[in-house]
């Protein structure tokens, strides 16, 4: 009985803190995406050859943990199958955050483009649904001085 109580309490705590954190995070992501909108990040492998661009590898990474509510609902969905929306938003946050950090890195170099952007996703840690790590990397092109 006590165990059930603890589990229910954890789910409620996870829901309250987890969804508040998610809302805050999305708000911050949208704000920063607008600020960095001008810096184009593309997946093309071939950079323009008109200028002698300076180039440098830029990276951005983030590790985001799942909350107890997400882990719990995901395990319920796992029984019946279907879209695991709690994890969809989690991974979306991680990807966009990694992209933003990469862009911030490029902006600090004064870059105008990031070419050949690649994402790398991996599952971190042994416990529960654990956490996911997303890394974004690409080559920043900076106009010559």
């Amino acid at each position: 009985m006590i165990e059930v109580g603890i589990a229910v309490a954890l789910v409620i705590l996870g829901y309250i803190f987890g969804s508040a954190a998610e809302r805050r995070h999305f708000k911050s992501i949208i704000k920063r995406e607008r600020e960095l909108n001008r810096l184009a990040a593309v997946a093309t492998r071939f950079p323009p050859e008109d200028t002698a661009w300076r180039q440098q590898l830029v990276t951005g990474n983030v590790v985001i943990a799942s909350d107890y509510f997400k882990t719990f609902t995901a395990s319920l969905i796992n029984i019946f199958g279907g879209k695991v929306t709690p994890f969809e938003s989690l991974i979306d946050r991680a990807r966009r955050e990694a992209m933003l950090r990469m862009k911030a890195d490029a902006q600090s170099l004064g870059a105008e483009y990031i070419f050949n952007v690649k994402y790398n996703t991996s599952r971190i840690s042994q416990f529960g649904a654990g956490a996911i790590e997303v890394m974004a990397y690409g080559t920043a092109l900076t106009p010559p001085e």
Binding site: L10, L13, G14, F17, G18, A21, E22, H25, R45, F46, P47, P48, E49, T51, A52, W53, Q55, Q56, L57, T59, N61, V62, V63, I64, A65, S66, D67, Y68, K70, T71, E97, F115, N116, K118, N120, S122, R123, I124, S125, Q126, F127, G128, A129, G130, A131, E133, M135, Y137, G138, T139
Partner: protein
């Protein structure tokens, strides 16, 4: 040392291909950090300690890649790729590889 994940660089000519170079690094956090992460799993959010750990790990792997490239006389590494895998409980391996080349101004 120029590191890029493009296959060629505008303004440069590839003089010599020197083959694949690589670097890797395996790291783990101490138990206290893992415990904190377990707590964080209730509330959700970013695990800053792990973000930093992986960042450091990546830098070290890249340093090893550069070291290897330098030793064979390369001045650039092109088409660099990163890969991550968790090889044991609590430990992650970061692997970085690319093609070592000798570049020349066009």
């Amino acid at each position: 040392m120029l590191i890029s994940n493009l296959e060629f660089l505008p303004g440069y000519k590839i003089k010599r291909h020197l083959g694949l170079v690589q670097g890797s690094s395996v790291r783990a956090k101490h138990v206290g950090r893992d415990l904190m992460a377990t707590l964080k799993n209730i509330f959700g959010g970013e695990l800053t300690a792990y973000t930093e750990l992986l960042q450091d790990s990546r830098e070290e792997a890249t340093a090893r890649l550069v070291e290897q490239a330098t030793s064979i006389g390369a001045n650039a590494v092109l088409n660099v790729r990163f890969s991550t895998s968790s090889i044991a409980a609590g430990a992650a391996e970061i692997f970085v590889y690319g093609t070592a080349v000798e570049l020349e101004d066009d």
